[in-house]
Symmetry: C2
């Protein structure tokens, strides 16, 4: 019969599931930041009505010892606990639960006592429960437990049963053989803050020299103050490697380059070297180190480009022809998106039979730059290389260097972008540049900043890139540049610009309907007049200053969209309960017009009671603000299309307030 | 280096996840019905832009052979395929995907051809791809492939490349060593239709005898036409076992029973037997068989109660005292919910050290009744027995008898109810009786009838039970009885009533504020006057007739709530696209009042184009209906508080229509 019925050898009454955070049942790690509290919650169920004892267990991956933390009941069978990971890297967490027989007995004892029942038999039961635990406890605990047990009788018995020392001994020493555990431990990846809170400035070093001269890393190093004073903390350099000459593209992506044309930095590799070499005109490894150090001194961290493709002149083409695709005639296939052809680029063939040596070589490239102090990589087109390659590469690098940050530049189908984030990319480019209407912006903000998405995907909102000059910037003029800057800087944790094109409001497309820049810096040296009086550098400096000083912007809480009465006024709050930092941002999405509109604050979301007054302080130059209860009337003008207000509790409700900038 | 970098031995470019249906990553089976199509869909991603070949694989659990079905692209990286399980029981399904190199080549060839490119090198590539497959194919296929390959050149080459026979050969024979599979196969449980579409009638056989006599199974057998003529298809009997006498409860749950009191059927067990015995006054096993056969003849299937508890007189108490909880003084603990006491009931102790023999005994009890033709069990309070016990018990029974249906009677916390459904219960009691307002009814219908919940949880809406006489019925009179009957019968697949209390509108509570019936049938024989002229039996017969004949009610599609302009008119549609069966139900939740209101149909949901007219035919007696475009004006009166309309496409838009009952 036993055989027929397949009886288990033991069973658990408690069951645990729906743990949060959880990325695909533990297949991937949830992302968090070092020294910031993590809340873990789960559904923990048991048959009947017994009390439960539930615990969170955490440890750095590889450690043998769990740290155990009691969980609290949140209602509706949900339990939770917090912990704060104190170091970078991989962590594990799991949850356990068991029936708390002593707690159940105690709860029922008090109910019986209240009803006036005779408790004699219940005290006997309590003493038996204690003795069961004492029988397997160490001598000291057993003695202490038995002392408690002896008091479980008569008048003082109920009091004695409620001693917290007794409860904690019983909880600590209770038999664990019927404890249920989560099916498999879940994974947490703990980053440094820069992974989730960063301001990027993209610059082509070769444009930072004397006019019409090929600039160098040293030229850029000498002008870092320009970038640092805008408040950026990441300086991202497009590829700094030698550039091929075969099929080199000329200005405006023309097929016929002249001898003067400098080529695209993404056409990597020449007889002078490949992915571990520096373009001779940019300088040497020593120059790179000097730039890195000067940047660090000014609060800027360097980010390098990892673009896994080659010019026909890359050393790999001759040293490792097996890493490329070959035609039947033996020639190497250039990049194509039929019928488009890119003769200047050889893609790497990840289906090569020699894929293992290729993977190892990419690992060595990263190791090379990490050894030279680089800790941030912007990865070009990761979606055209295998998912498993990225999971392996990032995993191997992170195992040795948990402080390394990877930004995925994948403008592709949404599920592929999210998959790459799950695989380990720390940050991701987004569709932000193409979201321009009020509702689509609100929806997209919601999509990329709320759990479970935000447990693994960290958006990095770039206003523009050397490849993307959106129509809104082509047409919207300076007010639109301000709006897009504020949207990117103040809605999510990571943002960036491609400069100086952005602050100087470069807006001319290669042709009508194109998102390419005319005379794109990808193909030529640019001579930016960074001192132009209409530069938006001071405005950008203000935005980064607000991000830096207002606690609401450093916490990983989603922006809270606030209703407005105008289809072109988008309003959102950033709110940090711990510091009571509340910032309201309103942007005019038709910024060439004057608009005046009402924002209706959601007080509950913002931790504001109905009877609390609100004061508003401009953090940018601003116009008059009228506050009436939860309604805030704001005015936007073409000169001031962005309103940023710090909201503070006021002793009384104010009906009108005009406060100049702090 | 290889060691350092932990290179995998191989990798897959394709990744598969987010399969639907899926209950907790394959931990539990999704529920479906035999001979009804099942749609399986999944996200299938690959790096780059290659074409994919994706397949669904299905098999009855235990079979070695998968049946393979091509999946189609649904957009946004989602793929899907259908299959129809042709037998009851456990099935498995999984999904595979691989890069379709030939398909990719062909797609690009056509793009290049369109652009006027020279195709010589591409034809060579195509021939190479074909030769690679031919090299490992059987002789006949290889010969055929090579014949195709020879045509890939010159003018006719593009045509030759598009031959569907070539594509299908290449797809069928392509190397599978880089095929990616879903992490683990998912599970499907395939029931007979009765599991998802059933009408229950609960009756106490002992009340169906001569007045003031203890009725028997034969008495009930003689009156089955009364129940069958109302259109029910499940006859559920409260426990039919001997009833204990120790601490037997008297009328109205009094502690002092007289010698005449019959006791509660849930006080199971006496010296005459326990869970496999029949109460002597009800009859014998032969009488039971006679009842079962007569019921079957009238389209009624018997459902027995499985109530795992004992009276103090149950044979198990003396034969297996180890299955019960004992006090320190050796006495057995009766049921308690402190401070409440139930001295007439001994709960079974599933934490007993002899739990294995207890589990086996319950298995034997079920086997006993299954051997006597029972295939439906209503399980009493499953939430007070361990989850793992149910998973084991239902799993073992289902392995031998996949046609057995289990209804969970767990009125407990929501997550526990849903967990029990996941574990294998075919149907579940719900909170339906306590949902009385328009919005909460709409929300609850949505909660229990839409995926992923509906993939494992099948609600059974009971209007009343011997334990639950809801205040709405106590106060609402006959119109409210009609509304609750229509809500239960026409919104979900499974419904039931406790009769004759329901059709005779028994409405008097034990006391004010109580949901217990006065003079409850649980504790005494009742003498129902089933011929009373005001009985709702004809109305119930109409409801079951509609459920039976209108295809919209037999398909597992959720009710579609339709907006109305009245806070007390709830409207929903049932819609089956295949048969174009569309039924609109409107109920007045304040049925004592007359109401006239507008229902605004969601044409898109109902597969109706904007230019299609609608006719409405009453399926119950009804008042005038006015149709204007998508608005339908309906009238409810206390005599007719429920409107049921069959909607059919009309050649022209009608502005007014009054049609009597079909």
């Amino acid at each position: 019969m036993t055989n027929l019925t397949h009886l288990p050898r033991s069973f658990r009454r408690v069951t645990i599931d729906s743990i949060i955070p959880d990325i695909d049942g533990g297949r991937f790690a949830a992302k968090r930041l070092v020294d910031q509290p993590v809340t873990i919650s789960a559904d923990i169920l048991c048959d009947g009505h017994d009390e439960l004892a539930c615990h969170l267990h955490v440890r750095p991956a590889g450690s043998d010892e769990w740290t155990t933390i009691p969980m609290a009941r949140d209602g509706n069978d949900r339990w939770s606990a917090d912990f704060t990971p104190g170091r970078l890297g991989a962590w594990e967490y799991t949850v356990s639960g068991r029936v708390d027989h002593f707690g159940t007995w105690l709860r029922d004892l008090l109910l019986r006592d209240e009803a006036g029942d005779d408790l004699t038999a219940e005290f006997a039961e309590g003493r038996r429960l204690i003795e069961q635990v004492a029988a397997t406890a160490d001598d000291a605990s057993a003695a202490e437990l038995r002392q408690h047990a002896r008091k479980l009788k008569g008048r003082g018995g109920v009091n004695a049963a409620q001693q917290s020392r007794l409860a904690s001994l019983m909880r600590a020493l209770a038999a664990s053989d019927h404890t249920a555990w989560l099916d498999v431990p879940r994974r947490l990846w703990v980053d440094r803050e820069r992974a989730a809170w960063s301001s990027w400035y993209e610059a082509f070093p070769r444009s930072w020299g004397e006019p019409n001269q090929h600039g160098s890393l040293r030229d850029l190093a000498g002008q870092l103050n320009y970038i640092a004073s805008m408040g950026f903390n990441v300086l991202y350099l497009p590829p700094i490697h030698p550039i091929g000459t075969s099929f080199r593209k000329g200005k405006n992506n023309s097929l016929n380059a002249t001898a003067d044309d400098v080529g695209s930095p993404w056409g990597i590799g020449s007889p002078e070297g490949g992915h571990t070499a520096i373009h001779p005109d940019l300088g040497t490894l020593a120059d790179f180190e000097a730039l890195r150090q000067e940047a660090a001194r000014q609060g800027l961290e360097l980010a390098l480009d990892l673009a896994l493709q080659c010019s026909p002149d890359h050393p790999w083409v001759t040293e490792h022809p097996e890493w490329f695709r070959h035609r039947v005639d033996g020639s190497i296939r250039y990049a194509e998106n039929p019928p488009k052809k890119y003769q200047d680029i050889y893609p790497l063939n990840f289906e090569s039979e020699s894929w293992q040596t290729l993977w190892e070589e990419v690992f060595r490239v990263l190791q090379f730059w990490i050894a030279r102090g680089v800790r941030i990589f912007r990865v070009d087109n990761p979606h055209t290389k295998p998912f498993e390659f990225w999971e392996w590469l990032i995993g191997r690098i992170h195992a040795q260097h948990p402080d390394v940050i990877f930004l995925a530049e994948a403008f592709t189908r949404p599920k592929t972008m999210y998959r790459l984030a799950k695989l380990g990319f720390s940050q991701s480019y987004t569709y932000f540049t193409w979201r321009t209407e009020k509702q689509e912006l609100a929806d997209y903000l919601q999509e990329v900043t709320t759990p479970p998405r935000s447990d693994y995907f960290r958006p990095n909102f770039f206003t523009n890139t050397p490849d993307i000059l959106h129509a809104s910037l082509q047409e919207g003029g300076r007010p639109m540049f301000m709006v897009r800057l504020a949207l990117a800087a103040l809605s999510v944790g990571n943002w960036g610009i491609y400069g100086p094109a952005m602050e100087l409001q470069a807006a001319t497309p290669f042709k009508a309907g194109s998102e390419e820049y005319l005379d794109s810096e990808k193909y030529e040296l640019k001579n930016w007049d960074r001192d132009r009086p209409d530069t938006l550098a001071p405005f950008i400096s203000d935005l980064n200053q607000i991000r830096e000083t207002e606690p609401a912007f450093r916490r990983q809480r989603p922006p809270l969209i606030q209703p407005t009465n105008d289809d072109h006024l988008l309003a959102w709050c950033r709110y940090d309960p711990a510091s009571e930092s509340r910032i309201l941002i309103v942007v005019n999405l038709q910024p060439g017009d004057r608009r005046r509109g009402l924002v209706t604050l959601d007080r509950g979301q913002l931790g504001l009671r109905d009877d609390e007054g609100i004061e508003a302080h401009h953090l940018l130059d601003g116009n008059g603000v009228r506050i009436d209860g939860t309604s805030i009337e704001v005015a936007c003008t073409p000169a001031r299309p962005v309103v940023v207000l710090r909201l503070v509790k006021a002793p009384v409700q104010l009906s009108f307030l005009e406060i100049s900038r702090d």
